[in-house]
C-alpha cells in the first residue's frame, strides 16, 4: 500500500515538518510519495525529492493552492487518493484547515494529531490537551491522518525521487482570497521555537512583561509566551497564550517566569524537553513539572539569569 504525505512549505522553501511527517509515513508503508501543492513548486519539489525514503514527488500548481484555499487543496488530494491507502498531513494551521475536507469527501474518520504509529491501522493521539493518550484503530479503507511534527524525528536527506506534475483543480467560486499578512518578527514562531520564555500574572503589568520577558527571550533567540492569566489581565497579547485554549508547544527549553502552573497552562507546555521555572511560591504546581526550579522573586532572579547567561557567552 502506498501513502501520500502533504508537504509543508511557504511557496519558497520546504519546511522541516515535511521531513518529520515522512518519518511517520515510513512507519505506515515503504511506498511514500510527497505532494507539493502551491506556487513555485519546481524548487520546493526538488527539495522534497531529496528526502531519504521518498518514492515520488507530485507537484500541483495554482494561485489558489499557493494561497492555501482549503477547498482547492482538499479537492486536489481527494482526486489523488485513488492511488493511496492513506494520506498524512502535517498538523499545522494550514494542514488542519484542509485535512477534514479530505476525510469528509472520502467518508472516513480523520485521525488527528498522531504522535505515534503503532501499525498501519493503529495510531496514538493526545486528547484533553495531552492529559490522556488515545490509541485508535481505524477500519476505514482509506486513512486520513494529521501528524504532530514535533513527535517525529526528521527524515534525512540523500534521496533522489522522481518529480511529476499533476493538474490542479478548477477555481473556487465561493471563496475569495483578500490578503495575507505574515508577521516578520525577529523572534521565532511560538509553535516552532526551540526555546520559549513565558511570563505569568506575577508580572503585574504589560510594561513589566515587556521589560522582563522580552529581553530574556531575545538574549536566547526564543519565542515569547504567556499564561492565560497574564493574557486575561492584558499583560500580553492573546496570540502569546500557551495552554489548553492557546498554543500547545514542545520546545527544547521552556522557561516559565512568574507562572504558577494552572492545569490549563501545563497542558500547553508539559511536553517541552526541559522546563525551567522561576517563582517565588515554592509550592506552585509549576515546580512539579520543572526540571530546574528556582524559588525566587523574578525581579531579582531574571537580572541574575541575564548576567549568568552573559557570563556563559550567550
Amino acid at each position: 500500500m502506498a501513502v501520500l504525505v502533504i508537504a509543508d512549505h511557504d511557496n519558497a522553501s520546504l519546511k522541516d515538518n515535511t521531513h518529520k511527517v515522512v518519518t511517520a509515513a515510513l512507519a505506515v508503508s515503504g511506498d511514500v510519495d510527497v505532494l507539493v501543492a502551491g506556487t513555485n513548486t519546481a524548487a520546493v519539489g526538488a527539495e522534497a525529492a531529496k528526502i531519504a525514503g521518498v518514492r515520488k514527488v507530485l507537484t500541483a500548481e495554482s494561485a489558489e493552492l499557493g494561497q492555501g484555499i482549503a477547498e482547492a487543496v482538499g479537492d486536489l488530494i481527494v482526486g489523488l487518493m485513488g492511488g493511496y491507502d492513506a494520506v498524512l498531513i502535517p498538523a499545522t494551521s494550514q494542514g488542519k484547515n484542509f485535512s477534514p475536507r479530505v476525510a469528509a469527501k472520502l467518508d472516513v474518520a480523520q485521525i488527528s494529531e498522531v504522535i505515534e504509529v503503532v501499525s498501519a491501522d493503529t495510531f496514538v493521539r493526545p486528547i484533553y490537551a495531552g492529559n490522556a493518550l488515545e490509541t485508535v484503530q481505524s477500519a476505514d479503507a482509506k486513512k486520513v491522518l494529521t501528524v504532530r511534527p514535533t513527535a517525529f524525528k526528521a527524515a534525512g536527506e540523500g534521496g533522489s525521487a522522481s518529480v511529476e506534475s499533476v493538474s490542479a483543480p478548477g477555481g473556487q467560486a465561493k471563496v475569495h482570497f483578500i490578503d495575507q499578512q505574515i508577521v516578520k518578527s525577529a523572534r521565532p514562531d511560538l509553535g516552532a521555537a526551540k526555546i520559549v520564555v513565558s511570563g505569568g500574572r506575577a508580572m503585574g503589568s504589560a510594561e513589566e512583561f515587556q521589560k522582563v520577558i522580552e529581553p530574556l527571550a531575545d538574549k536566547l533567540g526564543a519565542a515569547v509566551g504567556a499564561s492565560r492569566a497574564a493574557v486575561d489581565a492584558g499583560y500580553a497579547p492573546n496570540d502569546y497564550q500557551v495552554g489548553q485554549t492557546g498554543k500547545v508547544v514542545a520546545p527544547e527549553l521552556y522557561i516559565a517566569i512568574g507562572i504558577s502552573g494552572a492545569i490549563q497552562h501545563l497542558a500547553g507546555m508539559k511536553d517541552s524537553k526541559i522546563i525551567v521555572a522561576i517563582n517565588k511560591d515554592g509550592d506552585a504546581p509549576i515546580f512539579q513539572v520543572a526540571d530546574f526550579g528556582l524559588v525566587a522573586d523574578y525581579k531579582t532572579a531574571v537580572p541574575e539569569l541575564m548576567s549568568a547567561l552573559t557570563a556563559a557567552g550567550k
Binding site: I69, A70, E71, G74, T92, Q94, K96, N97, S99, P100, R101, A103, A104, A109, Q110, I111, P126, I127, Y128, A129, G130, N131, A132, L133, E134, T135, V136, Q137, S138, A139, D140, Q172, K174, V175, H176, F177, I178, Q180, Q181, I182, V183, D189, N238, D239, Q244, G246, L253, I263, Q264, V276, G282, Q288, D291, F292, G293, L294, L305, A308, A311, A312
Partner: protein
C-alpha cells in the same frame, strides 16, 4: 439572517482530565462540565452579530446527553433565541457530528454556521471543515475577525505565522479561534430569562443519520509523567544545569 451555533458540553477547562483505571476512557463522573471555550466564543460572536442588527435569530444546537440542556441554557442566557438538543448518550466522532448538523441545517436553513474550531476533549479540530464539505458551503476556519455584509462574510483567519483574510459567499461555515472575542458572562436576569426560551429535544435516531463510529478506541492511557526535577539555589545554577543538559 439566521445563525446556527453548535455547542458542546465538555469537561471544564480548569479541571484535569483523569484516565480511568480500566483504560477505556477519561473519567467524567462527578467532574465539572462546561461549554467548550471555543463554542462560547462562537455564541458570543453570534450575539454580537445580532446586536449589530446583522443576525435576526440565533439557534444554538447541541448533540449529547440530557445534561447538555444546561449547556444550551448557557447559550440562551448569553443571547441565543432558541435551542435544539439532539439527545444521545453515544459519543459521536466529528464526521457523525457533521452529518447530524447537516440534517438539522436542512430543516433550519441558516445562512451562517458559527462554531468553535475545536472541542477541548477530543481535540480533533475537524467538525466545521467536515460540515462545510458535506454542505458544499465555503469554510473560513480559525476566525479572529468576522464582518458579515452583502451576502458575504469577510473573515480574518489565524494562519501559521500571521493572518489571512478571505471573503466567502453565504451560506458558509465559520469556525472561531481564541482571539475572535472575549465571551460575556451571562447576567442573572438573562439566566432567568433563558429558562423561558424554547428548547426542543430530538432523539438522535429520529434524524436517520449514520453515526456508527469509524474508529475503535483500543485504550486510553496516561501520558508518561515527568520525572521530578530539582530545585536550584541561584540563577547561575540554572545556566550551569542547562549547560550540563546540553541545551547550550
Amino acid at each position: 439572517m439566521k445563525v446556527l451555533v453548535p455547542v458542546k458540553r465538555v469537561i471544564d477547562y480548569n479541571v484535569k482530565a483523569r484516565v480511568k483505571a480500566d483504560q477505556t476512557g477519561v473519567d467524567l463522573a462527578n467532574v465539572k462540565m462546561s461549554m467548550n471555550p471555543f463554542c462560547e466564543i462562537a455564541v458570543e460572536e453570534a450575539v454580537r452579530l445580532k446586536e449589530k442588527g446583522v443576525a435576526t435569530e440565533i439557534v444554538a444546537v447541541s448533540i449529547g446527553p440530557a445534561q447538555a440542556q444546561e449547556t444550551l441554557r448557557t447559550a440562551l442566557a448569553m443571547g441565543a433565541d432558541r435551542a435544539i438538543l439532539v439527545q444521545t448518550d453515544q459519543d459521536l466522532e466529528p464526521l457523525a457530528v457533521a452529518k447530524v448538523l447537516k440534517a438539522l441545517i436542512a430543516e433550519e436553513s441558516p445562512e451562517l454556521v458559527l462554531m468553535g474550531k475545536q472541542a477541548i476533549d477530543g481535540d480533533n479540530n475537524a467538525t466545521g471543515q467536515m460540515l462545510s464539505t458535506l454542505l458544499d458551503w465555503p469554510q473560513a476556519t480559525f476566525a479572529s475577525e468576522l464582518v458579515v455584509e452583502g451576502g458575504k462574510a469577510k473573515v480574518t483567519r489565524e494562519v501559521d505565522g500571521g493572518l489571512q483574510t478571505l471573503e466567502v459567499n453565504l451560506p458558509a461555515v465559520v469556525t472561531a479561534d481564541l482571539r475572535l472575542n472575549e465571551p460575556r458572562y451571562a447576567s442573572l436576569p438573562n439566566i432567568m430569562k433563558a429558562k423561558k426560551k424554547p428548547l426542543d429535544v430530538k432523539e438522535l435516531a429520529s434524524l436517520g443519520v449514520d453515526t456508527a463510529p469509524r474508529l475503535k478506541v483500543v485504550k486510553v492511557t496516561e501520558p508518561a509523567k515527568r520525572s521530578a526535577g530539582i530545585k536550584v539555589e541561584t540563577a547561575a545554577d540554572i545556566v550551569s544545569n542547562l549547560k550540563t543538559a546540553g541545551v547550550f
